[in-house]
Amino acid sequence: MPERERKQSPASREREEETSDVAPAKQGEELKEELDDLLDEIDEVLEENAEDFVRSYVQKGGE
């Protein structure tokens, strides 16, 4: 099982700085680089033309 990284979102970063009970294994810079790499990787697989794609996703109600 992959070890989960503890990483805080921008929304909660301030709260993390205030408390020390969460122990991030990596430093901020390293985390940021890793996240940037992941976003770059996701950019590669994202569907083209977000607006058209989202507009064309229409489902019939179910259940």
Partner: protein, 495 residues
């Protein structure tokens, strides 16, 4: 008295036929399922389907009880699941499972079956076309499709008592069962991001409908078991989860709360005022701080109500045990994970990224907002939301996060692959699945509580399976292994 919490999930997947000039979702769903089952097709038997029967003791006319669509593709799989076209969606109904860990495993196996179906369908569609499915619950335009759960419940528990306890439960468990959604729908107040895919679609407290004016507690009374002894609680408020911890907790905690209700163990009134509005409010509050008005006076956060339920569950574990909910191995694990998650929500909801879907998705969206300077109305965020749920391995953003080591898994992948074809050993799904595996030509039809065999001589033999725990490997494994033909099986079962 609590009965074993036999449980399972039913998931309607979103479906698109890309590249087609006139994409027909019913046709796409049929193609998809046929592609998977073409060499192993056994039909579903509708004799015992009564979706219009109401748990409050009557059959209603004039409301929207669902029609059964017998003309559409409908198959039974060797893992005991049902795989079919429901309305305009491919639906996978997991086999009956005995605890939350099994239910998680066979739910995840369903994702793999849909993925295999997409691959198998490639040779059935036109050039440049592709069938793609999404494990989500909304198209972002006001159309929702369900991810239901089912639980075996003691018929002796008055339905009104069940409703009383389950409404505050369903209103507040979204905190960990939500899959997250950009924006609001169905006339709800606008919001950048909310916890649940489904909350906006709930408009009533109790009712029979599933497609219009959806109720928090659904009253469909179709036990698929001995109706004197059992109910099947058909839960329609949940989101389809990808995070394994979320699915595990959704099934595991709800099983424990139901067992506590059956044992009359819930000695507090946790009812909230205006539960429908409360449900929307909880979903629209990713900070998890908003307070709700309690029916008995005062206010509480959804998280406070969850702490109350957890406190009761820990006491129940100590005093009664969790035998009906997977024992200490599974039930005990549910309680400790539940506590960890509530602590995480209390400390900082974002600490649960990689554990809960809504938090994992929100973190990804916020990273894009920050990097690209997006506003929340940007269609790129709606795309990320949608593509998080794409079931194709190469396109699914959830799978990307798994591969990057950002998501905690509870399952071993080899076991998931095995569960695509093997049934749970603990319930009657074992008998159903093994019969299909052994004698596919002889199983004429199957459904949840019976199996029809053609043994070569008239008439067809119907084998009733009204007891969900009879037909397990312990019960019939040796007989199934010893029989060479279905005729022998029928003889052995009759003797």
């Amino acid at each position: 008295m609590a009965v074993p919490k036999v449980c399972g999930t039913e998931t309607e997947y979103g479906v698109v036929l890309r590249g087609a000039s006139d994409p027909n979702p019913v046709l796409a769903s049929s193609l998809l399922i046929n592609a998977y089952v073409e060499h192993r097709k056994v039909g579903w038997d509708f004799d015992d389907e009564t979706p219009g029967r109401d748990a409050r003791g009557f059959s209603r006319e004039g409301t929207q009880a669902p029609d059964i669509e017998t003309h559409l593709v409908n198959a039974v799989l060797t893992n005991g699941a049902r795989y079919y076209v429901d309305h305009a969606h491919p639906e996978y109904s997991s086999p009956e499972c005995l605890d939350a860990m099994e239910a998680l495993l066979w739910d995840k196996a369903g994702e793999r079956i849909l993925r295999a179906s997409m691959k198998a369908s490639r040779h059935l569609v036109g050039a440049g076309e592709e069938i793609v499915v999404y494990k989500n619950n909304s198209d972002g335009k006001g159309n929702s499709y369900g991810a239901h759960e089912n639980y075996l419940v003691d018929r002796a528990l008055p339905f009104s008592t069940l409703v009383h306890h389950m409404i505050p439960w369903f209103v507040t468990r979204q905190l960990f069962t939500g899959s997250g959604k950009v924006g609001a729908e169905n006339g709800a107040d606008d919001v950048d991001f909310q916890i649940s895919q489904r909350a906006d679609f709930f408009e009533e407290e109790v009712g029979l409908e599933t497609t219009l004016k959806r109720p928090i507690v659904n009253t469909r009374d179709e036990p698929h078991a001995d109706p004197q002894q059992f109910r099947r609680l058909h839960v329609i408020v949940g989101d389809a989860n990808l995070c394994e911890v979320a699915t595990f907790l959704k099934l595991g905690t709800t099983s424990i709360v139901l067992a506590m209700a059956e044992d009359d163990f819930i000695d507090k009134d946790l009812s909230v005022l205006q539960p429908v509005q409360a449900m929307h409010a909880v979903s629209h509050d990713p900070r998890c701080t908003r307070v709700l008005e309690m029916a008995g006076g005062g206010t509480a956060r959804a998280l406070d109500i969850q702490w109350e339920f957890l406190g009761l569950a820990k006491k129940y574990e100590d005093e009664t045990g969790l035998e009906m909910c997977g024992g200490e191995t599974v039930g005990g694990r549910v309680v400790s994970r539940w506590e960890e998650v509530l602590e995480g929500l209390e400390r900082d909801p974002m600490s649960l990224t990689g554990v809960l879907d809504w938090v994992t998705k929100l973190e990804l969206l916020e990273a894009y907002v920050s990097r690209d300077g997006l506003t929340w109305s940007d269609s790129k965020l709606a795309l990320l939301d949608l593509q998080y749920h794409d079931v194709r391995e190469e396109r699914s953003l959830y799978e990307r996060l798994v591969r990057a080591g950002k998501v905690e898994r509870l399952l071993i992948e080899d076991e998931v692959v095995e569960a695509m074809t093997a049934p749970p050993p603990t319930t009657r799904a074992y008998f159903r699945g093994r019969c299909l595996d052994r004698w596919p030509e002889s199983v004429v039809a199957a459904n949840w509580d019976s199996l029809i065999l053609d043994v070569g001589t008239d008439p067809l033999r119907r084998i009733p399976m009204m007891e969900p725990l009879r037909g397990s490997k312990a019960h019939v494994g040796a007989i199934l292994d010893a029989c060479v033909t279905p005729a022998e099986l029928v003889d052995r079962l009759a003797s």
